[in-house]
Amino acid sequence: MFRFIARRLLQIIPVLWFIVTATFFMIRFVPGGPFTAEKAVTPEILRNLEAHYGLDKPLYQQYFDYMGNLLLHGDLGPSFKYASRTVNEIIADKLPVSIELGAISLGIALVFGLILGVIAAIKRNSFFDYLASSVAMIGICVPTFVLGPLLVLFFAIHLGWFNASGWYTNIDRILPSATLGMVYAAYVARLTRGGMLEVLNQDYIRTARAKGASEFRVIFRHALRGGILPVISFLGPAIAGILTGSFVIETIFQIPGLGREFVNSAFNRDYTLVLGTVILYASLIVTLNLIVDVVQVWLNPKLKFE
């Protein structure tokens, strides 16, 4: 197992290097720069600006400077758009918000998804199954940028229970997390239902029942362990999706998270902030995939660390 993890970690290094390098050059070849503005600046002022930020050096030089600062000091550089902030500060400031939003959403997705999925599987082809499946289908089909405003219209404007936007008190967490969580709850429900149905037909479940185990024990002790495997493999992409997909939610609900910075930095051609967020998200995603792989083998005796 440790050899497996060590080998995977070694594979991650060239992957990350490639992502950083490709992003560094790709963003430079996009037309327009950080100082392209509607009211044009004079060539002299533009030269001063480029000198101020070291953009007047040859591109390869800038690349080596950047990589040097990154590897030796963990320094992601100053933001071009937000003059008095560094990329490290922006990430340190915004990432916890995105993680909080993501964690609550994931919690909602798992709790509702698992409950719906298990009910649908036990009461197969009954009214509950159709209801749970329909709810799941709607959750998958309605995009967050539709669901979010609908929830706000009803719960915030019509009923007045919540603020329409903001991220100040605990109650402000509910609508955005519910919006983001519902989509994934729907996937989790469908995967759980499928996984459970497959497992419930297996011999060892019949054995458990024959031994006189209670139905509750059969479902939660014996069946769920196998039935949940598809959900586990889905968690890797789901977490990645929740993290990067938080952009829409953060915009709709005016949440000061990293998703907004990630997308807006590209529009602003804020080169260093683009790179910083890409590096962060890439590292998070490869790490999460590794963890999911490990957990999967650990849960499923049929798989081995190979």
Binding site: A37, S84, G166, Q254
Partner: protein, 557 residues
């Protein structure tokens, strides 16, 4: 083991959900509600949506409109704006004299001109602030706004090393003398309306690093010192900026609000919903689709106000067939502007038949684009494209946006029906689009121009040869001479006559096709008072207040 793992995981989530459910709305800390002051009374708070997150709060670093709103709350220049007319009124300077030739301005600073830390502001503070702005290594983007002053351009470009040769002089502690290159009759208006002319607290900035370093921490809450009616209290990026009264402000008695809170609101639909729950007193914008609903349901909250800006199409006159003046005129005449403002933009905009904005500081262009469809067809045929025959490939470029697309589609249709010519629509992401504009890589490009100060010069100077915002390839010697003559004109009457001739040249030559004059459309709580529509959408915060509702009446309802 696994069961235990899941059990603890689920219980953590359950606890988290429980905790998040325990908050209460209107608990005072919700980020929007008015806090209670020391005397037990509710503070008077003004909550406003403000578009994008600001780049920074250093007036010499930033360039955008959201930043402008924040800075005019925090700072004041030598003169400031009348809240209704925007005409210059005394501020840091209590009076000023202008020499007979209009070149030398002498400002007399008031004795109680102070920073928010209580320190006095002297004439030398202004001289040194402008030195920072003009230092090449500091690379201030708006430094060219100071180039009206003798030697400023050379110093900024590094051609002049001796700052004492630049036309800023502190004659004594309270007297500042500014010497201009040209009489520049709108000089005081720029001074009043543009933050590039605000002083900065150099002593404070120096505590946090080099004066020419843009990335120091002096604009952080706790560090920042300013000289306007309000001072910075909190800055939570992408969340809100809170300002409170500045007790050392020279005119603190006029200030009524206790707090001003600005919220970055990039998503205008979300902003509108936030306004409807009462969290905001004013939105920055209103989605077009909502205007009719507001007219019907909340007319008291809907604000539609003149805005000193014009929406137009730039034409690349170096590319055939647009190099032919007759073609340009035919295209301009074939647009039904009334229909566009009535059916497409729908925000009360006025159709534009000239480039200058009517009623800008008393100036209204006399020359108007005129001619009917028959004239347009005749011009097109004379240029070699009768009924659109032989019409080459032409694209209409706009930056990706629903509103711009709707207008472009309407105009594309008008050109097809009225003239028989086909243009293709192309959209580009904002910075790519700006890059195409800079490189003149387009045929027809949608564009707009919003004034920085109230003077017709802002709309006319950009079409001179070599102006960086011209970008059409159009150049006209007579026009350039007139522009130079206008800056040297003795008085406004003489100057405005010159502008009339420039406007006439523009509607004859048409390097740009005017389409409509902007309107500012937004929603505002009717309880906000001391707030007047102004051409620049500037609303000095020191006059604004919230009308208190009688508490008893609110209870009984």
């Amino acid at each position: 083991m696994i069961r235990r793992f899941f059990a603890s995981f689920l219980s953590i989530i359950a606890v988290a959900l429980f905790l998040t459910g325990c908050g209460k709305r209107n608990s005072g800390s919700s980020g929007y509600d008015a806090p209670i002051g020391e005397d037990g009374k509710k503070l008077m708070v003004y909550n406003a949506g403000n578009g994008a997150e600001p780049q920074d709060l250093d007036p010499q670093v930033v360039t955008g409109v959201p930043e402008h709103n924040l800075l005019m709350t925090l700072f004041e220049g030598l003169v400031s704006e009348d809240p209704q007319t925007l005409e210059p009124v005394p501020s840091m300077a209590e009076s000023w004299d202008v020499s007979d030739d209009g070149l030398v301005y002498t400002f007399h600073l008031r004795e109680n001109a102070k920073w928010s830390n209580g320190e006095r502001i002297f004439a030398e503070d202004f001289v040194q602030s402008y030195k920072r702005m003009l230092t090449p290594a500091f690379a201030a983007e708006y430094s060219y706004l100071l180039w009206f002053v003798v030697g400023a351009e050379d110093y900024n470009k590094g051609k002049l090393d001796d700052y004492s040769k630049v036309g800023f002089k502190a004659l004594d502690e309270q007297t500042l003398q500014v010497t201009l290159n040209n009489p520049t009759p709108f000089f005081l208006r720029i001074l009043a309306s543009h933050y590039a002319w605000y002083p900065v607290p150099l002593k404070v900035i120096a505590q946090f690093g080099s004066l020419t370093d843009k990335s120091t921490r002096w604009t952080q809450p706790g560090n920042m010192v300013s000289n306007g009616p309000f001072q910075l209290k909190e800055w939570s990026p992408n969340q809100r900026i809170v300002m409170e009264r500045n007790p050392h402000y020279w005119d603190a008695a006029t200030v009524k609000l206790d707090q001003v809170r600005y919220y970055p609101t990039e998503d205008i639909s979300s902003e509108e919903r936030t306004f409807r729950t009462g969290q905001l007193d004013k939105t920055n914008e209103l989605p077009n689709a909502k205007i009719d609903a507001y007219r019907k349901n909340f007319p008291e909250s809907l604000r539609i106000e003149p805005y000193l800006g014009i929406y137009y199409y730039r034409l690349n006159v170096t590319r055939p067939p647009l190099d032919d003046k007759r073609v340009r005129k035919a295209l301009a005449l074939a647009i039904d502007r009334e229909s566009i403002v009535r059916n497409v933009t729908r925000g009360g905009q006025d159709p534009a038949y000239a480039v200058s904005y009517p009623g800008t500081a008393g100036y209204t262009p006399r020359a108007q684009l005129s001619g009917d469809l028959a004239e347009a067809k005749r011009l097109l045929a004379a240029a070699g494209f009768p009924n659109g025959e032989n019409w080459p490939h032409v694209e209409l470029l706009y930056n990706t946006s629903e509103n711009h697309r709707a207008i472009a589609e309407a105009i594309q249709q008008m050109w097809r029906t009225n003239l028989g010519v086909d243009v293709q629509l192309t959209n580009q992401e904002w910075k790519v689009y700006l890059d195409s504009q800079d490189n003149q890589d387009y045929w027809v490009q949608r564009a707009g121009w919003i004034a920085d100060y109230v003077d017709p010069n802002v709309f006319l100077e950009i079409w001179t040869t070599g102006n960086l915002n011209n970008d059409t390839g159009w150049s006209n010697a007579e026009y350039d001479q007139l522009a130079a003559a206008a800056l040297a004109a003795k008085n406004d009457t003489e100057r405005y006559e010159i502008y009339q001739r420039m406007d006439a040249i523009l509607v004859d030559e048409l390097p740009v096709i005017p389409i409509y004059y902007y309107k500012r459309v937004y929603a505002m709580n009717p309880k906000v008072k001391g707030y007047w529509p102004t051409l620049l959408d500037n609303h000095p915060l020191k006059y604004i207040y919230i009308e208190e509702e009688p508490e008893a009446a609110a209870e009984t309802e």
